[in-house]
């Protein structure tokens, strides 16, 4: 019987009502009195020296209030990298400055070198077009291999190279891994591309700034997944506005998927402009600007080797990867291809040797950073593709080769050869569940039916593991993070017994406003509708590191639990006073504080009221009020895992791939709201299948973005997918957070690309076409070429 409230129930989402009636408040919906508009002048070339910028004509145009160029920001800081990576030789990564507006050079198409503020958006746009910039175009570097070659044009002259770092993980394991591969009975080698993606949250980025000369306070409304981090970066690194004079509000946000984690120059520009002209300044990206300037995702080129015994027992994985970081280091661009990627390169497997090498490369393209999954999809794709290939070469069933190598349930906690300590898991159970879901025995009949229709049918499988709940601070600090990765929550019990919970996590589709109250209400034995979640406003919330890395519930939810526990403890003190008992004798269950072994009790609501009417409190022992804050810093990452399968049909005439079915068995540990969890998996699957089949970001050799609109960048539509089959009944609760939860936001995007590609290869192989690999996206053209190349 499914629960009807509290943890494990699926109440419908309360936030939906405002979204369904048009009353959501997204950044661009906020109109401030006297607001003005910012429009940016952006580079048309990928690499160029700015000789001069003449703004005089623009400044004289109607409605124009101010024009800014890079010159105006030479004295302020740059947008920093949040994670320091050291190269194998111990040298720190190369870290060129990322200014608010380009100065001296433009480094990618879309790089902003000037901005106009005007009374209307049209006036600002017209004036931006009237700015005369003399920019000498120079040869661009787009391809990573060419960027690393001797004599390549440099993205940043001052660092003398296009290589940001050359990282080894774990460097001490390198020799042993090399040796193991040299001596192995079987080695499978695969070179693959993890295609570059544009996150494409449906709400384009937007920022509106306001400055109050009376108080010296700034307010920034912005499309952010983590307003506190944005405030911190602007205050500490970019503009130097004191943190207590800067309020950052991320209101309703229309999706992020990583792209809204980062601070962008437009945010600093509108703040500076609002102060200068003394009026609010508003900017909203067009979709074309979003394509050019949002941080992109993925973009790895990898060679992976799998060494194994003839029976399929894994001996070693070794990878060499080039990771594109684009023209500037976005805030977490250096963490994504390293600690969110290399550390996962043992997968779900008890393999003894792993060595990962990653070279990060500057190119004249938009910055690349974390996008749903961030590093883990790249690791999973490399592993699960090469494993499939090895299974085929060795004649072993693809699920069996995986089972054979899994970390076994009795081996947890298990330290992987890539250095992470997996706390719990049961990967065999996930595969069992998957097999239950997919009717594997019926596959042959379905394949024959497809064949009758002239189609090739294939079955693709894979497993994945990920590290979520990005934290703990002490570990990430050792690994180079320049920020802590805890989260915070305040539980405020009002006098009338209802509750506001201020959380550092930001909800932009994840349903926190519904799921977090389920936790609090369960703990306090009260109606969840009396619990309200407050998020997205730095002036209301103690602090927070925001939402990414599937961390909201695992990290911030744990902070909510800790703060609620403190409320219960404080309530016990008050109840003890009210019941004239000793605090140690007070028990709290189902919303009642009672004296153990007696029938004396008092309800949560009465205690709340008493907290605010403390007429008879012994004030030296008992403070009035009922409000508690907790910062929670986990002991480890969490490790969701899953087993995925799909059936695809390939039309050999056209190369078109159709996804006939997709099944996902995931272990997310405990689940608070199954409906929301399933929705998160569906969305992730769509992004992963989109990556595998249709999405691709294409720059030409001059650095022009050819896939810069929805006409050229294939966004997945409703008719690209079947109904998904998802299951989360295999649950090995996380052992180190109070909810036992692991995180579900990225799983679908991590686990699905290899299943699709494995499925297409399987279809071709079963159809007698000897194709062993096709790079994503598996567009009809590419599949058709592969088929025809093989025949």
């Amino acid at each position: 019987m499914p629960k009807d409230h509290g943890i494990g129930a699926s109440p419908t989402r309360r936030e939906d009502v405002r979204f369904l009636t048009g009353r959501g408040k997204y950044t661009d919906d906020i109109a401030l009195h006297g607001q003005t508009y910012a429009v940016f002048a952006r580079s048309q070339v990928a690499n160029g020296v700015i000789k001069s910028i003449d703004t005089s004509e623009a400044e004289a145009m109607p409605g124009v209030l101010a024009v800014f160029t890079g010159e105006d920001f030479v004295d302020v800081g740059g947008n920093p990298a949040g994670w320091q990576i050291n190269s194998r030789d111990g040298q720190p990564m190369k870290e060129p400055k990322r200014p608010v507006l380009a100065h001296g050079k433009v480094r990618h198409v879309g790089d902003a070198y000037a901005a106009v503020i005007a009374e209307t958006e049209e006036q600002a746009r017209d004036a931006a077009e009237a700015i005369v910039a003399e920019i000498d175009e120079e040869p661009a570097v787009v391809d990573m291999g060419k960027a690393l070659a001797d004599g390549a044009p440099l993205v940043h002259d001052e660092i003398g190279t296009n290589q940001c770092f050359d990282w080894g993980w774990i460097e001490d394991n390198r020799a042993a891994t090399d040796e193991a591969i040299k001596n192995a009975p079987h080695v499978t080698t695969l070179e693959l591309v993890n295609n570059r993606l544009v996150p494409n949250a449906m709400e384009p980025r937007a920022s509106t700034a306001d400055y109050d000369p009376g108080t010296g306070e700034y307010t920034l409304y912005t499309t952010s997944q983590n307003p506190h981090l944005t405030r911190l970066l602007i205050s500490a690194f970019v503009l130097g506005i004191p943190e207590n004079k800067l309020k950052v509000v991320a209101p309703d946000v229309g999706g992020g998927f990583g792209s809204k984690i980062y601070h962008y120059g437009e945010e600093a520009l509108v703040l500076a402009a609002a102060k200068k002209i003394g009026r609010p300044v508003r900017w909203t990206a067009s979709r074309s600007e979003s394509f050019l300037t949002d941080a992109h995702g993925r973009d790895h080129v990898t060679k992976i080797e799998l060494a194994c015994e003839k029976d399929g027992t894994f001996i070693a994985f070794r990878t060499e990867t080039m990771a594109n970081v684009g023209a500037y280091l976005s805030n977490f661009s250096t963490a994504t291809p390293t600690f969110l990627h290399g550390t996962l390169m043992a997968g779900n497997y008890a393999v003894p040797n792993v060595y990962v090498n990653v070279k990060a490369v500057f190119t004249n393209t938009a910055p690349v950073d974390a996008y749903r999954g961030a590093g883990r999809p790249e690791a999973t794709y490399s592993l699960e593709r090469v494993i499939d290939m090895a299974a085929r070469e060795l004649g072993i069933d693809p699920l069996e080769i995986r089972r054979k190598n899994f970390v076994q349930p009795d081996q947890f906690p298990f330290t992987s050869a890539a250095g992470l300590e997996y706390d719990t898991g049961n990967y065999g159970a996930l595969v069992d569940k998957l097999e239950e879901m997919i009717d594997r025995d019926g596959f042959e009949a379905r394949r024959k039916a497809s064949e009758k229709n002239g189609k090739l049918r294939g079955l693709g499988v894979n497993t994945y593991i990920e590290a979520c709940g990005i934290a703990p601070s002490n570990l990430v600090g050792v690994l180079g993070s320049r920020v802590g990765l805890y989260d915070a929550a305040t539980v405020r019990v009002n006098a009338t017994g209802n509750i506001a919970v201020m959380v550092g996590a930001h909800s932009h589709g994840q349903g926190h406003e519904t799921a977090f109250p389920q936790v609090v209400a369960d703990m306090l034995g009260i109606d969840e509708n009396s619990v309200e979640i407050v998020h997205g406003d730095t002036s209301k919330i103690p602090f927070g590191m925001g939402t990414y890395g599937s961390r909201s519930l695992a990290v911030c939810g744990s902070a909510v639990v800790r703060a609620t526990e403190k409320v219960i403890n404080k309530g016990k003190k008050i109840a003890a006073h009210m019941l004239e008992a000793s605090e140690a004798d007070i028990e709290f269950t189902d919303g009642q504080f009672s004296v153990a072994g007696t029938d004396k009790s008092v309800g949560f609501g009465e205690v709340a009221l008493k907290a605010y009417i403390p007429h008879d409190f012994p004030l030296e022992d008992l403070e009035p009020g009922l409000e508690e804050t907790a910062f929670y810093d986990p002991a480890n990452f969490t490790y969701p895992a899953g087993a995925y399968a799909c059936e695809v049909e390939v039309d050999p005439e056209t190369g078109k791939v159709t996804v006939c079915s997709f099944a996902a068995a995931d272990d997310f540990g405990n689940v608070i709201n199954p409906m929301i969890v399933e929705g998160q998996v569906h969305g992730g699957l769509a992004q992963g299948i989109g990556q595998a089949l249709i999405e691709g970001t294409v720059y030409d050799e001059n650095g022009q973005l050819l896939s810069g609109t929805y006409m050229d960048y294939a966004m997945p539509r409703a008719d690209d997918f079947p109904m998904f089959k998802v299951d989360h009944s295999c649950q090995t609760p996380c052992t180190h957070n109070p909810l036992g939860v692991k995180g579900c936001g990225e799983a679908g995007a991590i686990g699905s690309p290899p299943a699709i590609v494995n499925g297409v290869i399987d279809a071709l192989q079963r159809g007698g076409i000897d194709v062993t690999h096709i790079d994503m996206p598996l567009s009809p053209g590419r599949v058709w070429q592969a088929i025809n190349g093989a025949q």
Binding site: T12, G22, M202, G254, G509, G679, D719, M723
Partner: protein, 161 residues
């Protein structure tokens, strides 16, 4: 500048617009009806779908002046007269057919137009009809399910909840 008058959600409204003012901007900036969203600049995402004289229209693809004299319905006009969610809106909530909510107004408006035309669409017909509406969050699974449910079809058998 020209003046336009139209009926929006049952109320007559008018305003001065430039020739280049799009209907979506007239609604959002002029009328404060910010439920209609702008997700692209090439008329492809469908976040801006409204009904003009009963037909679904991408409000970024026509000028405000072209809607002069028309009956326009936006997401703000889709609730029941008592303010409760309309059938399609309720089905979206019941079946978790939205996450961030940004595509949602356009989805609901498109779904309403579909059900007018085809009161009991099949799964394939729904997917086909939504070709012009992009959602990045939901993977469409629950949107399709919600629309089937809104049309009175039994969705209890739809794959894994």
């Amino acid at each position: 500048m020209t003046s336009v008058t139209m009926t929006v959600n049952g109320k007559s409204v008018s305003g001065e617009v430039e020739g280049r003012t799009l209907l979506v901007d007239f609604l959002r900036e002029g009328q404060g009806l910010t439920g209609t969203h702008v997700g692209c600049d090439t008329s492809q995402c469908g976040a801006c779908v409204v009904h003009v004289d009963g037909e679904p229209v991408k409000a970024c693809s026509i000028f405000a002046a072209e809607a002069d004299g028309a009956e326009v319905t936006t997401i703000e006009g889709m609730a029941n007269p008592d303010g409760s969610l309309g059938t399609i809106q309720q089905a979206f909530q019941d079946h978790h057919g939205l996450q961030c909510g940004f595509c949602t107004p356009g989805m609901v408006m498109s779904a309403a137009a579909l059900l007018q035309e085809n009161p009991k669409p099949s799964e394939a017909e729904i997917r086909d009809y939504l070709e012009g509406n992009i959602c990045r969050c939901t993977g469409y699974h629950n949107i399709v399910k919600a629309i089937m449910a809104a049309s009175g079809q039994d969705v209890s058998a739809v794959a894994a909840e």
